[in-house]
Amino acid sequence: MIVADILTDLKSLIPEGQVKEEERQNHSLGNRGQVTVYPKSEAEIASILKYANENGKNISVMGGGTKRGYGGLVETADILLSLSDYKGIIEHTVGDMTLTVRPGTTFKEIQDYLAEHDQKVSLDPAWPEYATIGGIIAANESGPKRLGYGSARDVVIGMKVVYPNGTIIRTGAKVVKNVAGYDMNKLFIGSMGTLGVVSEVTVKLRPVPKHESLVLLSFPKGNMEEIRSFVIDLLDAPMEPTSLELLSPALSNRLINRAHYTLAISFEDVEKSVHYQENFINNSEHNAEVSILRQKETQAFWDEFYTIRPNGTELITNNETEAALKIGIVNLDVLKVIKEAHVLQDANNLVIQAHGGLGHGLCQVILKGASDDVVAAIKQLRYFVVQLGGYVTITHLPLSLRQQIDVWGEQPSYFFLLKQMKSKIDPNNVLNHKRFVGGI
C-alpha cells in the first residue's frame, strides 16, 4: 500500500520509466529501497529529496553499488536513489587541468576519457569499472597511490550538493586554490551521503606520468625488522615513491604467486628519474626477491589489485562470509597491523588478505570464511589496532552482521559536533539514515 503510494507520488515528479518498484524483497547487504528512482537531472534529484523531506520518507543513495555493504543498519529505505543514470562529463578545461562531472560517472569512464589528453584524476579506488566518482568521494576512498597524490580531499575543488530540503548549493569553485568562506567541500567528502546528494564534482587533474614502474620486493624470511629497516632507509632517502604498500603473504600469493610479505613500490616520473630510483632499490641492502614491472605491465598488476575487495554489486552464492576493513594507524605501525592480520588468518581458520601504506597509514583487510570466525577476527584485529591508537571501520559486511558489530567502532569524543551537523542539515534524517558513525 505504502509502496504503491510512493510509486504514484514519484511518478508525478519524474518520468515513469525512471521509477521502479524493487522486485527482490531482500538483499543480504541491505541499503535497499522499496522503490528505486533513477534521476537524470539535478532538478529531479532536488524534487525527490524535497518530496521525501516533506512527506516523512527516507532515502538510501547509491552510485555504482560497490559499497552497498559499507555501513547502514536498515534493510530497506523507502526510496533508493540511484545515480547510475546521472552521468557524463560536464566540462573539461584541458589547459586549466580541471574536470567537472556528474556523480554517476564511473571512475574508469573518467580515466579513459582523460587518458586521451594525457591527464588523470590522481585517485586509485577499487573497482574502477563500477565505482562512481560520487560514491568514491562520499566514502572518501583511496588506494596505495595516496602516498604520492593524496586523497579525495586533496583532489576535489568544487561540488554541487542537493540538500535534503531540495536546495542546491555550490561548494568551492573551478579553481585550484580558494579560501572564500568555509571549505565546504570537506564536509561532504567522506560523509557517506548523510548530508546531501552530490550532483556535480569538479576535480583538479594531473598529467599522466611520462614513465611508470613498479618494484616488487618479496621478503622470504618474513622478518618484520628487516622490512622495517629497509623502509626507513627508503623513506629517509630522497626517493619519491608514489606507493609503498606492504602486501600480506596471502595477498602477495594471490597477486604475484609469492607467499611472502611483499612491498609494492611505484615510481612515476620522467624515465631517467624512474630508472634512477629503481637502481637505488637494486643497490640497497636487502635479502628480498625483486622484480620490476614497467609501463603497461604495471597497469596489469594494478588492474588486478583493484578487484581484490568484495564488490557490493555481486551477490555471494556460497555460504562464505566476506568482509573488508579500512584501518588507520600511525604510518609505520602498518607493519604490525599487516602482520597481525596474517597471524589471525590461521588462528581463525580464515583467508585474510591485507595491504597497507607505509607512507600514509591506511590498511585494507579482506576476510573470508565462516561468519562467526569473520566477526571474531574483526573484533580481535580491532582490539589490536585500537591499542596502537588507530581505528578499524568495516567497509563491507552483510547486513545481519553489521547489526551485530559496530561498523564504525568507538565514537569520537567530539561526536556531539557530528550529530549537530547532521541535525542542522538533515533534521528529518532523510538521507542514508543510520549509515554513518554513531547511527547518524
Partner: protein, 485 residues
C-alpha cells in the same frame, strides 16, 4: 600575589589576569592596546578590551570559558600578519594571543609528522628539521613571522603550493578549544581519515570563527633531492602568461611558477633585495622544478624551450643556491617593496582559471586606467592566484576609496571568469561583502549553519567572513533598483 599589580576597577580584567597567572600576561591600558587594534589589514581599526597571553591549552580553555560565561566577545591572534582583518577586534574583543604557546612539541621523522603549538613560527619548523633533510611545505611569503596557528586559520598558501598543496593538505590533527571552553582533539597522532565528518577540513580555513587551535599535527616532507630555478624575462605580458599555460600543458608540475609585471619589478628592484632585473621588460616568470636530480635537467630544457617559443628576451637558470636564494628573497618581499614606490598600497587576492590569465590581466589594466591608480601584479601564476596591488596615496582626498573600489572591481573580474575572491588571504572583514560575488544567499546560509554548530553564541570572532544581513538586504534593493532603471 603578582596579580595585585593589575591596576583596574574592571572585574573582568582582574579575573582574566588571574587565569593567566601573571600581570605580565595581560595588557589592558589603552596605550598598550593600540598595537592590537588591527592586523596586516589596516583600514579597519578597533581597540580590544584586553590582550591575554596564555601559556597552555588549559589557560586558553579557562579564558574562553570565562568569556563565554560572561558574554565577553573574544578572538584568537597569532602574529597579526593576516591581510583580511581576521584578527581585528571589531567588537572590542578580548584578544587571546597565542604567541607564547610556541613550542615544537614533537618531531617524528620516521612517521613524517611534527606537533607544534599554535604560536610556533612557520619557518622555524623547516629550520628545525632541515639538517635532517626534511621540511614543512606551506611557505607563505610571511613565513619568517607568521604562526602555524594563523596558517591553519587562514589555510595559508605560498609559492610552492602549486606542487605540494596549501596548509589544509598538510594538517593531520588539531587540538581545539571550542567557543564554550571545551577541548577536543581531532586526528590524534596524525592517523588519517578517522571516521566522522571531516572537521579538520572545516576548521582549517575557518578564519578563527569556529574555535581556537591550541595544538597542530602537521605532515613533514623529505627535502627534494634537487631543485633548479629559472628566471625568464618577457617583453609582452601575454607571452609570459602563454608560457605559463604551455609549461603546464607539457605535463610538467613545477614546484613554483611565479609572475611579476613591470610595476612590481620596479618596486622589488628599488627595495632591499634587488637582483638586477631589467626595468624595461613587461613581465618575468620565476619557475622552480624540484624532485629527483636525474629527472630535472630534461624538464628545465623543456621550460627553456617553451619560453623561447614565446619570444622570451632572456631566460637563465640559477647557477647556485646563493643566486636562487636572492631571486626568491626578491620575490617573497614583493608586497613590502611596494612601499618604496608608493606611500600606500592595497593587496588583493583573487583566483582565476589559469587559462583566463591574459584576459584578466587586461581587465585589471583597464581598472587601473579607470581609477588613475597604478596596479602592480605579483602572483602565483601556476595556480591562477593573483595579487593585484593597488598603489595609492591616502593623503589625497578620495584616493583610499578609489583604491578600495579598484580592488573590489579586480575581484569582480575574478568572479566573472569563474574564479574566487580569495586564494589565500581569507575573507575577514575585507571581503565580507564580496562573498556575494561568488555565493548565493543559500550558499552563505549553508556556511553560517556550520558556524552555528560550533559557535552558537557568536562571541568568537563575530562579524567576519559573511556579509552582514542588513547590508545584504541593501545590496539586494540596490540591485533591484539598478535592474529596474
Amino acid at each position: 600575589m603578582a596579580v595585585k599589580k593589575v591596576k583596574t576597577k574592571d572585574k573582568h580584567i582582574k579575573n582574566l589576569a588571574r587565569i593567566v597567572e601573571s600581570p605580565r600576561s595581560i595588557l589592558y591600558h589603552e596605550e598598550d592596546l593600540i598595537s592590537y587594534d588591527c592586523d596586516g589589514f589596516t583600514l579597519h581599526r578597533h581597540l580590544p578590551k584586553a590582550v591575554v597571553f596564555p601559556k597552555d591549552t588549559e589557560q586558553v580553555a579557562k579564558l574562553v570559558k570565562y568569556c563565554d560565561d560572561n558574554e565577553l566577545p573574544f578572538l584568537a591572534r597569532g602574529a597579526g600578519t593576516g591581510l583580511s582583518g581576521g584578527a581585528v577586534p571589531l567588537n572590542g574583543e578580548v584578544i587571546i594571543s597565542l604567541v607564547r604557546m610556541k613550542r615544537l612539541l614533537q618531531v617524528d621523522l620516521e612517521n613524517r609528522y611534527a606537533v607544534v603549538e599554535p604560536g610556533f613560527i612557520n619557518l622555524k619548523l623547516t629550520n628545525s628539521i632541515s639538517d635532517k633533510g626534511y621540511y614543512y611545505a606551506p611557505d607563505p611569503s610571511s613565513q619568517s613571522c607568521c604562526t602555524i596557528g594563523g596558517n591553519v586559520a587562514e589555510n595559508a598558501g605560498g609559492a610552492h603550493c602549486l606542487k605540494y598543496g596549501v596548509t589544509t593538505n598538510h594538517i593531520l590533527g588539531l587540538e581545539v578549544v571550542l567557543p564554550n571552553g571545551e577541548i577536543i582533539e581531532i586526528g590524534k597522532d596524525g592517523v588519517p581519515d578517522r571516521p566522522g565528518y571531516d572537521l579538520l577540513g572545516i576548521l582549517t580555513g575557518s578564519e578563527g570563527t569556529l574555535g581556537i587551535v591550541t595544538k597542530i599535527t602537521v605532515r613533514i616532507l623529505k627535502t627534494p633531492e634537487a631543485k633548479q630555478t629559472v628566471l625568464a624575462y618577457f617583453d609582452e605580458v601575454t607571452d609570459g602568461s602563454q608560457a605559463v599555460s604551455d609549461i603546464i600543458s607539457k605535463g610538467i608540475v613545477p614546484a613554483a611558477l611565479e609572475m611579476m609585471d613591470k610595476t612590481a619589478i620596479e618596486a622589488v628592484e628599488s627595495a632591499s633585495f634587488p637582483v638586477g632585473h631589467p626595468r624595461d621588460i613587461e613581465a618575468l616568470l620565476l619557475i622552480e622544478v624540484d624532485g629527483i636530480s636525474a629527472g630535472i635537467g630534461e624538464q628545465i630544457e623543456q621550460i627553456m624551450e617553451v619560453c623561447n617559443n614565446r619570444n622570451v628576451r632572456e631566460v637563465k637558470v640559477a647557477q647556485d643556491e646563493e643566486e636562487r636564494g636572492r631571486w626568491w628573497a626578491n620575490r617573497k618581499t614583493g608586497f613590502g617593496a611596494m612601499g618604496t614606490i608608493s606611500p600606500d598600497y592595497l593587496v588583493q587576492d583573487g583566483v582565476i582559471p589559469r587559462s583566463k590569465l591574459p584576459e584578466v590581466l587586461n581587465r585589471i589594466n583597464q581598472i587601473s586606467d579607470k581609477y588613475g591608480l597604478r596596479i602592480a601584479n605579483i602572483f602565483h601564476a601556476g595556480d591562477g592566484n593573483l595579487h593585484p596591488l593597488v598603489l595609492f596615496d591616502a593623503r589625497n582626498p578620495g584616493e583610499t576609496e578609489s583604491a578600495l573600489k579598484a580592488g573590489t572591481e579586480c575581484l569582480q573580474v575574478c568572479a566573472d571568469v569563474g574564479g574566487s575572491i580569495t586564494g589565500e588571504h581569507g575573507v575577514g572583514i575585507e571581503k565580507k561583502e564580496e562573498m556575494r560575488f561568488v555565493f548565493s544567499d543559500d550558499e552563505i546560509m549553508a556556511q553560517t549553519d556550520v558556524r552555528e554548530v560550533f559557535n552558537q553564541k557568536s562571541l568568537l570572532n563575530a562579524g567576519k567572513l559573511f556579509p552582514t544581513p542588513g547590508r545584504c538586504v541593501e545590496v539586494k534593493i540596490e540591485t533591484k533598483e539598478a535592474a529596474s532603471v
